[in-house]
Subunit: 287 residues, 2 copies
Amino acid sequence: MECVVGIDVGGTTMKGGLVRDGSVLHAERRPTPRAEGPGAVIAAISAFVADLAAPRGELRPTAVGLAVPGLVTPTHAVFSAAFGWRDVPAEAFADVPLPVVLGHDVRSAGAAELAYGAARAEPNVLFLPIGTGIAGAMALDGALYGGAAGWAGQIGHIPVHPDGLPCGCGQRGCLAAYASASAIAARCGETSAAAVVSRTDQEARQVWDEAVDALALALATYTLLLDPALVVIGGGLAQAGEALVGPLRARLAARLAFRRPPGVEVSALGTQAGLLGAALLATRATA
Amino acid sequence: MECVVGIDVGGTTMKGGLVRDGSVLHAERRPTPRAEGPGAVIAAISAFVADLAAPRGELRPTAVGLAVPGLVTPTHAVFSAAFGWRDVPAEAFADVPLPVVLGHDVRSAGAAELAYGAARAEPNVLFLPIGTGIAGAMALDGALYGGAAGWAGQIGHIPVHPDGLPCGCGQRGCLAAYASASAIAARCGETSAAAVVSRTDQEARQVWDEAVDALALALATYTLLLDPALVVIGGGLAQAGEALVGPLRARLAARLAFRRPPGVEVSALGTQAGLLGAALLATRATA
């Protein structure tokens, strides 16, 4: 049975698998050896591809899709600050006799949400995975938008509180400095945002409150600019579920004066969106 | 010689004319009788259309384009807070035997900028007219974007300073509360933003400074989300020229950590963009 290889290359973990028609038939995780440098990550991806591309029982992979961060074209990883890549061709990631297609990690996950998830019926959607960082995939009139040079969707670094908390990017007051899972955890001395959500003390409540408020500000801005019908929250923070989207819906509505807010939902695909999106790259390239 | 009628219906003035191939062959202005109610404005537009649609020398108008504020489809003015309109059909605006097409005022002006102005060669552009209010026309991958329900581009009401100055919309800290021409004038007790620009006292310098900074914040946000190649400033405030775009370019660059800023230019079409855009609606409808 024909299928495709998909790998979602994250900063700490690579999620790989064999996928057919949006169903994951086989899944594996491996660490991303980011600390070992640009070449080590490429070599680890290539080894992962080789293992997944080998026939497995009745499954015959026909193509490979890789979802990676940074500035990406289907044939090149043009630039990645996270991995130190510059102009790496797709073939460098895969020493197998199959077509290999690259895609942007967040936009690929967004494509999976559009194809299989909560955003299925909507042409104007913001898909917002919140994890170590925050980036957005924007479906505008049914197509994923990349911008003039492929840099669109950097919602994690919009200034929600000018001159506010310092952000790793060098600016102050960015959304990610308040609302990324890593920022929420770090502000409370925890190792995960989930630990903060479960705490009831005032420090934790205030950090969570400021995170939700920063998200409401950013979504108000996005809504006023782009008039989406739906916002789908993904990534690790989406596991907070109603504790996140309940207050977020209320505060977003309160920040909008003259228009109704879009729907705000939690991703149904969860952390599989990236893998399904990577597979979709391969499926579409060979269709 | 065939031409089209275009009218840009503003809150205080209607700019009408006869246009052919982006050239204004005849132009007139009339007051918009907004204080007299929804029907009076419709009647004034209809009378203006009738006068402009009559043959004039060798000029033979073949169609009518009307650029109006609010939520607009080509056949209906669905909703306008400024004029109190609800579901007004295009025919109500023009009692002439010519096709009549409606368009959104700011997006029509943006279309003219794309067709004839500084944005001609760029598929990803923000056109930002700044006058009594601030709204944006967004060209994304070469097409003007309207959003899920036609409400996109409300950049004047994004919260640049959460809980900052009160805005007429009912929220606080909106871009328009700092950087609209009317807000700049009102904060200094002047009747025009131009008067503020020409003053050298500390109050005027600070208000101007805060206006430019609010614009830089809003454009940083827009740039991070939508990665435009170019921002074109139009409307009355664009007449400040280098006094506006010089400091704005510098502050926008300073607000962006990891990416280059887009170009920032002043509109070459100036206050004619709306009229040319209205004419473009008629031209495209009859092409």
